[in-house]
């Protein structure tokens, strides 16, 4: 029975207290130096929350996200630059936590893809225009309904003047 219940449980955003520690050790305390705090926040936005997957740790209410926010602040205060602070997290949780996928062999297609699509689409369009352009056919086309309307308006305008 429990299984049926669990299966049909509708999960929206895992703010649910299913497996969240009750022990709140620390709250988000911003760093005193606003420049350091801004750097920490920028890093928070680049890291994916592991509990509420698909939110950044900046946007997540999960306890682990808060722990990681605090950890990033600690690394910044300890003198890490942004890259080192991010690397600290990646060494523990892997590339998966990076919201911006790193450019490497496996992601080449991902990054080239949009450019490829655009070139392909333009190529298809150009070929299509070339193939169908036939000056003779264009000349004997009857007026479209839009052109009819415009013609009528033009005539009406002239009549008024």
């Amino acid at each position: 029975m429990l299984k049926v219940f669990l299966r049909s449980l509708f999960v929206v955003l895992c703010l649910a207290g299913l497996s969240e520690p009750a022990l709140a050790v620390a709250v988000d305390q911003p760093l005193d130096d606003p420049r350091q705090e801004a750097r920490a926040r920028a890093i928070h936005k680049q890291l994916r929350c592991l509990v509420c997957q698909n939110q950044s740790i900046e946007d997540s209410n999960a306890a682990l996200a808060r722990d990681l926010r605090i950890l990033v602040r600690e690394r910044i205060t300890a003198g890490d630059n942004d890259e080192a602070a991010i690397r600290y997290i990646v060494e523990r949780y892997g590339d998966w936590v990076l919201l911006q996928p790193p450019v490497k062999a496996g992601t080449a297609l991902l990054w080239i893809g949009p450019v490829l699509f655009l070139i392909l689409a333009i190529a298809v369009m150009v070929v299509w225009y070339r193939r169908r352009s036939s000056p003779v056919a264009g000349a004997i086309e009857p007026l479209s309904s839009e052109e009819q309307d415009r013609l009528k308006n033009l005539l009406a305008d002239r009549d008024q003047q």
Partner: protein, 192 residues
């Protein structure tokens, strides 16, 4: 006109099949995707030495846990907490492992209040050899823990061999963890 000419050109006809081909390729991937587990994030610590840590015992229980405790023999490290509902589901399996003395199981008590943890162990049994109390969850982060329960298999050199995410079921033990323990004890390597 020009359209007619194109129709007589059979080379272009295959172009019409492109949308179908794309749809079928995507469909194939989606089918494969049904059997993947996207929520499970593989650990980057596999094959690496366990993180450096030294955790005290839960007050009222002897034997804390530190990195050095994990070399010398093959062991399991189970991340658990009294607030974790699904930990209860896997707990009898660890009780059984301990009763039959199959492999030592150490506990990493993750972000838990000590009295709650002790009560929990009293109620459901205490299968652990050593337990480190990770009050702030910082050691958990070093281990790459992101959901409780998680279970790590550590070899005799103190290297992490595999990580199981979520509650361990009997078939996970029988098909994955215990064969790996056996292989490691024979001096071989294991993957899981």
């Amino acid at each position: 006109m020009s359209e007619q000419i194109e129709e007589q050109n059979p080379q272009r006809r295959w172009l019409r099949l492109v949308p179908l081909a794309i749809a079928l390729v995507i469909g194939g991937f989606l089918f494969v995707g049904l059997s993947l587990k996207p929520k499970e994030i593989p650990s980057v610590l596999i094959g690496k030495a366990v993180p450096q840590f030294d955790l005290p015992a839960i007050p009222g229980r002897p034997k804390g846990l530190k990195s050095a405790d994990l070399s010398g023999e093959v062991s399991l490290v189970n991340v658990f907490a009294s607030w974790c509902v699904s930990c209860r589901a896997e707990h009898p399996l660890f009780m059984n492992l301990q009763a039959r003395n199959i492999v030592p199981v150490h506990g990493l008590n993750y972000k838990d209040e000590s009295t709650a943890a002790l009560n929990w162990l009293r109620r459901y049994g205490d299968p652990y050899d050593r337990i480190g109390a990770d009050l702030k969850g910082r050691v958990g982060i070093d281990w790459g823990v992101y959901g409780v329960p998680e279970t790590f298999l550590v070899n005799a050199e103190g290297r992490i061999v595999c990580k199981h995410i979520g509650p361990v079921r009997q078939e996970d033990l029988d098909e994955k963890l215990l064969p790996a323990v056996e292989a490691l004890r024979q001096g071989g390597t294991a993957q899981c």
